[in-house]
Symmetry: C2
Subunit: 188 residues, 2 copies
């Protein structure tokens, strides 16, 4: 059975929506794997997936995500969660709005690991940093505007349909579906 | 022989000054161990020391350090190097100077690991964030003022005499010196 190593039940629910057709049941693996420091989300997720797979003894996925602001070197990037907890999104918004170029992207990587394979799948959504608007979502959603609407102003289904994590999960679902023989062996 | 796992030769030279009396020769171990994500420098350094010790097969020290600004939750903390590379010290200075309380501290942890022991030693220097001044040092030194002088305005010997890393190394030296029997066994 495929397991999602996450302590976040919201992520689990979202992943089940994308993967139900190809993996059947997706179980939670409530395991706090180590995250390494790296500028590269794929490297962080791949390392986490390997460690979680070793702990679980079954096929595992993990995810990592972040907000990358173009004009300030991709900040806060892989450390988005830490920066949200310390600086906070208001200050991050002000930093970006002090720049002429306010473009940013949400990135997510889902990493899959079993005893044969370690694969990563990336989803990206482009947007622009604005002053906070909207009450929905979490994290940086209120300051991330896509096509005129912030992620915090969108209905949950609307956000999930275009989210970075959804795009990464969709790529994973395609990969799993394209390799039925390997999948049978792994996910049964 | 004790090895310092670092790719930074400046740090090696500084560590030799503190440890020469107790360990004799201090060799460089040019090994890029994984740094984990954590709010706690001691945890990052301890994990790195354990990994570096396993790779070296000999007693090893590693260090980790960062700038912690009180009013903004310790930011940039363990991610000081990443934040220096992306936001840069000018923006960090502006963030701190927008606060009434501009107090900060430089923290360093040196972790020692051999086949029996894993110990961490912390050094802290208090200061205040100011607009950049001075051409010496590196990293956040120009915006960190201690007793009216920024670390970048100090002579190298003056800075080393009171630096966070020096204080951590001095504690390690005391620990090594206080346990001559264990030290003989390990560092010979």
């Amino acid at each position: 059975m495929l397991r999602f190593a996450t302590t976040n039940e919201g992520k689990l629910v979202e992943a089940r929506e994308y993967l139900a057709d190809v993996v059947g049941e997706l179980a939670q693996f409530d395991y706090d794997y180590l995250e390494i420091q790296s500028d590269d989300l794929s490297e962080i997720a791949a390392h986490g997936a390997r460690e979680a797979h070793e702990a679980a003894g079954e096929p595992v996925i993990v995810d990592d995500s972040g907000l990358f602001i173009d004009a300030i070197g991709g900040f806060p990037g892989p450390y988005s969660s830490y920066v949200d907890d310390t600086l906070g999104i208001e200050r991050v918004s002000e930093l970006a709005r002090a720049e002429e170029d306010r473009r940013a992207r949400f990135r997510a990587v889902v990493a899959y690991c079993d005893s044969d394979a370690l694969e990563t799948f990336e989803g990206v959504v482009p947007g622009e940093i604005v002053a906070p608007r909207g009450d929905g979502g979490f994290g940086y959603d209120p300051i991330f505007e896509h096509d005129g609407t912030t992620f915090a102003e969108m209905a949950r289904a609307e956000k999930n349909a275009l989210s970075h994590r959804g795009r990464a999960l969709a790529k994973l679902a395609d990969w799993l579906a394209d390799e039925p023989a390997r999948r049978e062996e792994r996910v049964s």
